[in-house]
């Protein structure tokens, strides 16, 4: 599903450049539940951004769903994002003046679906994350956990190939963290590839494969007990 070969990325800082990713090789197959672990500055967010087509890499190859990602213009990137990827962010990134339902329906809008249909589908997904009754609430009327569940529903609504979660639990307490992780697990159980970035060990342990990143290189890549238990 995601295949990365010798990926390099550096950011210019003034005259110098910061080499963030120093040759990453990673292969994530369909249906995997992978977490990228690493302290801040390890390059994990950069990796996610590249995987999420929000940023471009300098060197190496990146195949998404078998397609080589190269010299992508914004339009193509937008279409691929919409088609293959669902995003879940640490700070939820819901649009504040839209209701939960409208937020979930937004990716479908960019897909070109009509309003009636997309609101119906959005409502189904809200039901799936247990927030059907909150459909017409604005984000600021929801708790952190609820917001993240709305964000997950939004990530899922286009039936993407991969869900990319950037510190999905970073802003949540432990109870809601568990509920969000349970939700991600459920999604993965249904066959969705889930790609989580975190620096919390407990979160990573709930995934099936942990890739540890340090200073822009992969230092370990192993399957967890959770994976072995299946």
């Amino acid at each position: 599903m995601i295949k990365i070969e010798k990926l390099h990325k550096s950011y210019p800082i003034g005259k110098d450049s910061l080499h963030v990713l120093k040759g990453i090789d990673l292969h994530i197959k369909e249906g995997e539940f992978v977490s990228i672990m690493g302290s801040s500055g390890s390059g994990k967010s950069t990796l996610l951004n590249i995987v999420g087509l929000l940023d471009v890499h300098d060197e190496g190859n990146y195949f998404l769903n078998g397609q080589l990602i190269k010299e992508l213009n914004e339009k193509k990137a937008a279409i691929l994002r919409n088609k293959f990827l669902g995003f879940v962010f640490q700070s939820f990134n819901l649009i504040s003046y839209k209701t939960a339902l409208e937020n979930v329906a937004l990716p479908l809008y960019y897909k070109g679906m009509n309003r009636k249909e997309r609101l119906k589908i959005a409502l189904d997904y809200l039901e799936k994350v247990g927030l059907k009754d909150w459909a017409n609430h604005l984000p600021n009327e929801l708790s952190g956990g609820q917001k993240q569940r709305v964000a997950i529903a939004r990530a899922l609504v286009t039936k993407p190939k991969v869900v990319l979660a950037d510190e999905p639990t970073g802003a949540l307490d432990s109870t809601t963290t568990d509920s969000v992780m349970d939700l991600l697990k459920d999604i993965n159980d249904e066959g969705m590839t889930v790609f989580v970035i975190t620096h919390e060990e407990e979160v990573a342990e709930q995934t099936k494969r942990i890739v540890r990143l340090k200073d822009g290189v992969i230092i370990s890549d192993e399957y967890t007990k959770a994976a072995k238990a299946v």
Binding site: N49, I95, Y97, K98, Y109, R154, T158
Partner: protein, 414 residues
């Protein structure tokens, strides 16, 4: 263009406009003010134009009046200070020489006489005229008709009087047509009564009689007092005036440099001054109006730019969710156009309302030269189109700014 008719597009715009209420209101006020000023100023300018037009009334403005005075230069054996008169030969000569330039040429003889009808009387001007006078200054006839060619040929003793004269000489309710009045003890049949002329009044209350009749009754021979020359629309009236004078000077053995021999009043030149003034005012109006409009549109661009900055993160989210740069641009431009359009419409409505009230307030007051202050629909249409075009162009800047930021950077924005 399909996206224009997509209810979702408008849903999105409605959402973002509703969210940014303060911005929306300020923006709308900016443009509204611009187009409001344009409409009101144009309306006022038009009202003034109409006012002036009313002032000149039904008069053929491309006209010059010519009469004789005393010469101021000795010439061909004549001493200075000689008095002389225009005559019918001059008319003939002018007609043959300037036939293609002169539209109407009216020789006139005038005097003052006592008019009597039964036991009522009044002292009025009496004027011997040709039917062509009615073409130079259209008479609004209340009863009957003006002098015609038959009257001229038959030396008919007929007269056309003004409404005021009719009121003074006749009892109330009497139909004057066919009645006789005495002018200088000679009976004339009344064939017409004309109403007060709008704007310029050449003669005031005058009893018009056929030129030929005047000539015979007052024994004026071939002489005429003065003449009205109306030039063809394409003729420079000022040039014609000096040409005509030169011809007349040679006909009457007057020194070509004589400045006093012929008096004249060039209505065309006076009218042109007013027209120039109006053109100047209209130019000013357009200038001020359009400058204000542009300022308003720039305000829209400015505010959109700020909101785009504020909404960087939102735009980042939208792009992460699959919004193409094009769709983001479309939305922002459409917002800009929508705001300008709404503001423009409101401005036109307010402007129109104000003009309506101005009209209401001034129409009853004759002293204010403001008649029917209106704005042409095509002009509104042009202004409106300009507004929309400007709105689109100015929307391009924030739209570009919105998409030039990489989504990742937009998302990082707090």
């Amino acid at each position: 263009m399909k996206f224009l008719f997509d209810s979702d597009t408008w849903q999105e715009i409605y959402g973002s406009i509703r969210k940014n209420k303060a911005r929306t209101v300020i923006t709308i006020i900016g443009v509204l003010w611009g187009i409001f000023l344009l409409v009101v100023l144009l309306g006022a300018a038009r009202g003034m134009e109409n006012g002036f037009k009313k002032l000149f009334g039904n008069f053929a403005t491309n006209s010059v009046f010519v009469w004789t005075q005393r010469t101021d230069t000795p010439f061909k054996g004549f001493q200075e200070g000689r008095r002389f008169k225009l005559n019918m030969n001059d008319i003939k000569a002018l007609k043959s020489e300037y036939g293609d330039k002169i539209k109407f040429l009216a020789p006139r003889n005038q005097t003052n006489n006592l008019l009597v009808h039964n036991f009522k009387s009044g002292d009025f001007k009496v004027s011997g005229d040709y039917p062509v006078l009615d073409k130079i200054q259209k008479k609004k006839l209340i009863y009957g008709r003006f002098i015609n060619q038959n009257d001229i040929l038959s030396y008919a003793k007929v007269t056309v009087i003004s409404e005021d004269m009719y009121k003074q000489l006749f009892d109330k309710g009497v139909i004057p047509i066919g009645e006789y009045i005495k002018i200088n003890s000679i009976n004339y049949k009344v064939i017409g009564v004309y109403g007060p002329s709008q704007g310029i009044d050449l003669d005031g209350d005058t009893a018009y009689i056929p030129f030929s009749t005047f000539k015979r009754v007052y024994n004026t021979a071939n002489n005429i007092d003065w003449m009205v020359i109306t030039a063809d629309e394409n003729t420079n009236i000022k040039q014609l005036e000096s040409d005509v004078k030169l011809t007349l000077k040679s006909l009457h053995k007057v020194h070509p440099e004589d400045n006093r021999a012929f008096g004249s009043f060039n209505l065309g030149v006076e009218f042109a001054k007013f027209t120039d003034f109006l053109i100047g005012m209209q130019f000013l109006t357009w200038f001020v109006g359009i400058a204000t409009l542009i300022a308003g549109v720039f305000a829209i661009g400015n505010i959109l730019l700020i909101t785009v900055k504020e909404r960087t993160k939102e735009i980042g989210i939208r792009r992460a969710l699959g919004a193409t740069p094009k769709s983001i641009r479309q939305q922002i431009i459409l917002e800009s156009v929508f705001l300008t359009t709404v503001a423009g419409m409101l401005g036109i409505i307010f402007g129109g309302t104000i003009l309506f009230f101005i009209d209401l307030a001034t129409s009853s007051n004759e002293d204010i030269p403001l008649v029917n202050p209106t704005v042409n629909i095509p002009i509104i249409f042009i202004a409106f189109t300009t507004l929309i075009v400007l709105g689109t162009l100015i929307g391009l800047i924030p739209a570009h700014m919105a998409t030039v930021v990489k989504p990742i950077e937009a998302l990082r924005e707090e």
